[in-house]
Subunit: 328 residues, 2 copies
């Protein structure tokens, strides 16, 4: 089964836009200063007569993934995937028994799991996939996405993308922007789903990555995933990853946690106009409410800096008419 | 001065195409089996009725740079740049005296210099640029390109691009391909010139890279080049770099040396149709003639494998009507 058969989110976004008239490219956003700050920025940089005009090739927009484009509770979805892999492989890997964080996973100790750092998560992911070819790994992720369901919403994880952000991605691309994901999540995991869910091709996805090795096997050349972690695309790593993969400074950056702060600072420091946006999770009813006290999606210094510098802070509760496409 | 003011190669290519009629997108190529193998492949993968049809997003074409898109003799152009930098900085860096390869550079020992490995070259480049911000580095490369001239042809280095390959890049893009550079050269060096010279934006350039560090300075956040080498995009590194940056397998790959062999093997091993091409330097009069005995652009195992497997081998002498745009 391919992702297209179970997702079709891009199509839904288009359909929604068509039903609410041609005047509003962001129908799932409530009118107000938040939405206005985004459309004003796009108008300014795309109008050739504006002093803030930016030529299309330089219209680079970067998006964090977990908590910004799709949900990240109760645990990062890639961690839920890795937990399923640890359980599936536990019999073959007796050395995991008694070793953390593997024992916590086998015990389903949610408290311990929610305290894992991104680095811990990536270590688990690496451990479960070392020795596999990159093609084998993509196949396993694809199968998991086709069958696993979110514990609270009972939806495939690919449908846990935020409808307003899908509309925003479409709107920016229609305005000549090139959209990139810059996420702490694993690059090989995300690339299986980003084209179908977000319309973002693999070459525009930047993430944390393990080492891979080229091997000439009997069946031909393959790339084999190694246990070592090569790059963590979080905090200071995000501007470094942007420079490495994109090679120029974005003019718009979207995040939701302190892990995105340096990416926003780096984007803000460009010479021309820039748009800096934080998604603030303040809607416990339709999604979750968390920020300064949360380990997942910890948002503290970035929220202070956003308010101090006048960056756009999205209130999910007030600014989004709808959170998920499956709501209605 | 920007590159556009001194280059204009893309414009020239278009002009040439316009003068030779709409029927031939590759006017600087002589008719024959080499040219035919390329146009046949493009016809097959772009015709929706063909069994070999490939949807546009998967039409990924990768090109080595040195010796494939532009010349690489008498030394890699980036090495010539680095030599100029070593000479310019020698007074401030007395510790370089007596240390190789720096002393060979200061002595202008061409024999020794032509024996440097890509790794040696990259070490020199790193040593001369550590501590500089990425923006400062780009400025220095830009200035050098605006003034330095090729020792044999007395042309700016940006005009040392091969006219037939510029036409090929345009032709592939017009056929829905996305064109990437995958080169052993330094990524920050190449990205200064690839958009103007080849029409390839920085985010489609993969190369060797040093480490960079994010720093919050008084004037704002910057990325600072570090002395350490992070990734060598050569040999086995090329498929690894392709997986890391592009995340899917190319269907066309172009190289000119044994450093490109693994990239061609990896591309050839894809499930669908693929085009594998080597540029063979056999034209001492208009360019240079070298292959198995040469340290720069060493072509030996890849030439044997290309002949054995029926890959396309371009004879610069026979297949190219014109090598450089400035020839006429």
């Amino acid at each position: 089964m391919t992702l297209r058969t179970i997702v079709g989110v891009g199509g839904l976004a288009l359909l929604t836009a068509a039903c609410t008239g041609p005047g509003d490219p962001l129908p799932s956003w409530n009118d107000g200063p938040t939405k206005q700050s985004i459309t004003d920025f796009v108008d300014r940089v795309t109008d050739p007569a504006s002093p803030d005009f930016v030529p299309a090739p330089a219209r680079i927009a970067v998006f964090d993934n977990d908590g910004t484009l799709w949900a990240e509770q109760p645990l990062y979805f890639q961690l839920l995937f890795a937990l399923d892999r640890v359980r599936a492989l536990a019999d073959e890997r007796p050395e995991w028994r008694g070793r953390q964080p593997f024992q916590a996973i086998l015990d389903d100790d949610r408290d311990a799991l929610s305290q894992l750092s991104l680095h811990d998560v990536l270590q688990v992911v690496m451990a479960t996939h070392a020795g596999m070819t990159t093609d084998e790994f993509a196949g396993i992720v694809d199968s998991w996405l086709a069958t696993a369901r979110h514990p609270r919403f009972d939806q495939p994880f690919t449908r846990m993308a935020y409808q307003p952000m899908l509309e925003l991605l479409d709107y920016l691309r229609a305005s000549g922007f090139k959209t990139f994901i810059v996420s702490g999540g694993g690059i090989d995991f995300m690339r299986v789903l980003t084209e179908e869910v977000y319309g973002i091709p693999p070459e525009q996805v930047i993430g944390s990555m393990g080492q891979t090795a080229f091997e000439l096997r009997d069946e031909g050349p393959v790339l084999v995933k190694q246990p070592g972690l090569d790059f963590v695309d979080d905090k200071e790593g995000k501007p470094v990853g942007i420079h490495r993969f994109i090679g120029r400074r974005p003019i718009a950056a979207f995040g939701n946690s302190d892990g995105d702060l340096q990416m926003l600072q780096y984007t803000a420091a460009g010479e021309g106009p820039s748009l800096l946006v934080l998604v603030h999770h303040d809607d416990a009813e339709r999604e979750w409410a968390y920020d300064r006290q949360s380990s997942i999606g910890h948002l503290d210094a970035a929220l202070d800096e956003a308010r101090e510098r006048g960056w756009t802070v999205i209130s999910m509760k007030d600014d989004w008419r709808r959170v998920f496409a499956f709501e209605q």
